[in-house]
Assembly symmetry: C2
Homo-oligomer: 323 residues x 2
């Protein structure tokens, strides 16, 4: 069961390994949103997403004699890179099970970090079954993408940084919008804020048509997405919220936010123009919500950017559509 | 005369106003360069470039009764935005004299920060004469782009951050490559490093064909560029090094580096892909030198990125040329 104590322990294991990302802002974005917008750019984290935090938290906690056999993970790309790099820095092998339609840069980078990549068909194959079989065969430890207390704790270290940086900015009340797939990132941040800055409240954000978390929060029970493909926000499309993450989200987060692909691409372009950061569409949904879906938000919004691993043609198209 | 004491005083005036930019890196860039490459991304600074530091340093030092009449500056764009925002935050008017061929985003942003923009023809008109006339007419204080001790001191605050961050990374010897126009940025950083981390040595970097600083350093006297137009690195094309900056550069910097526009655009694309930051071509020359011009560089290079104010079509073209 993830807790603030586990998050603080993860932070201690991550010291000197994780990058403390800054808090960014632009008067132009404040003007567009009609409120103060602070942006936490985890695209600047090692491997280009927050996932390195959870991967390091989990791998650094495995007993050394077990860890030496290696780790396995399944991921659309960002968790893959985080696990691959954390494994490499621990000097152990890693196998990453990835969907065949993941962005090219993510597959290439995962291989470049030293991982063995196993591709599968997102529409017809079950990644959990594939991952479980290989991990049994080789004695690998499975590093889950979100439904693991150690992974949730690692992602929650972003929440501890937000607490400190919001205080430096004089902010003691804000909506903290978090791009949400399986809910590991949002639930980790929510636990950190609950303990350290209860005036800051997490709101999940998802792409339209893949809003399993928003529907689950509304229904009070876990709901599934009907499809796993068709969103440009590939990084945060997951079948359903996790069995560990959903109770945390349900207890601590308000109603979930949903944005369109078009709104996400506009946020990608505005982050380019106004913040000088590279954000992938799925990583931009919280900023999109801050800019385009202001209803029921307070005077200050902290939009978390989850990742920046975007192919250059998608990025150029976002700029072309939003000159 | 700029000095370490003036830089430390500028830092004190900038506390809570300037953003402390992180130090970034990527194993992919280390591999390309064949050495450790650390990147100081001042594109993430307010207004998208380091220029906000020098502008705030100068404007915050003007006597209040004089300052209230306003300030004037001439700039291809980044100094313009830095002065415009620093003036706005001081609650005073600003007039910015800009070349008519400056990137559109820079002109628009300067106006959006509340400045009055006066355009001139870079090939046929003398911006110093235009700036001098308007400042006399309205009683405005001229904020020079580089040849002013207070501006040099403000830019030097980046050097103080580099000193601290290099120490955190265990680096006590490195080449610190700095994109160089008139030399205010490079000379300020060089003064800070001389006083606080003498194992770190500044090297200037310029675009091919506009290498007035490199030629001046080689000749031991100030040399001019034959042209002011024709480089994609608009941010760092200036007629010649300054009368105040050149003696500092000459005393503290090794031979100047020069890169091609093509190398600068490749660095723009690699910063997109590997660091998730948006860099303008002129701001990317130091990273380009680290990646493409390794001769006579040591084991560790710190490449300073000076700015990120690039039009989206130029950025998309850099990505297209470097897939």
């Amino acid at each position: 069961m993830a807790s603030i104590e586990m998050i603080e322990a993860a932070r201690d294991r991550l010291v000197g390994r994780v990058r403390r990302t800054p808090l960014l802002s632009s008067p132009f974005l404040d003007g567009l949103a009609g409120r103060r917008v602070l942006v936490k750019p985890e695209c600047l984290q090692h491997t280009g997403s927050f996932k390195f935090r959870g991967a390091w938290s989990a791998i650094s906690h495995i007993a050394p004699d077990v860890r030496s056999r290696g780790v396995i993970a399944f991921s659309s790309g960002n968790h893959a890179q985080g696990v691959a790099l954390a494994a490499k820095l621990h000097g152990i092998p890693s196998v990453i099970v990835m969907p065949a339609d993941a962005p090219r840069i993510k597959v290439e980078n995962t291989r470049a970090y030293g991982a063995e990549v196993v591709l599968y068909d997102r529409a017809t194959e079950d990644r959990d079954a594939i991952g479980g079989r290989i991990s049994q065969e080789r004695g690998l430890t499975l590093v889950r993408p979100f439904d693991d207390p150690l992974v949730i704790a690692g992602q929650g270290t972003v929440g501890l940084e937000i607490v400190e940086q919001a205080a430096e900015e004089g902010v003691d009340a804000a909506d903290v919008i978090v791009p949400t797939g399986g809910g590991g990132f949002a639930s980790g941040i929510a636990l950190a804020l609950e303990a350290k800055a209860p005036g800051l409240r997490v709101r999940t954000c998802e792409p339209e048509g893949f809003d399993d978390v928003a529907r689950s929060l509304a229904a009070g029970r876990i709901e599934r997405n009907s499809s796993q493909t068709g969103s440009i926000c590939d990084a945060i499309v997951t079948p359903q919220p996790g069995n560990l993450t959903f109770p945390i989200l349900s207890r601590l987060c308000g109603p979930g936010r949903v944005v369109t692909d078009r709104e996400a691409l506009r946020a990608v372009a505005l982050a380019f123009q106004r913040l000088k950061i590279v954000v992938e569409p799925g990583g931009a949904v919280a900023l999109a919500a801050a800019l385009s879906r202001g209803e029921a938000l307070g005077d200050t919004v902290i939009a978390v950017v989850s990742g920046g691993n975007v192919d250059s043609d998608v990025f150029a198209e976002a700029l072309r559509q939003n000159p």
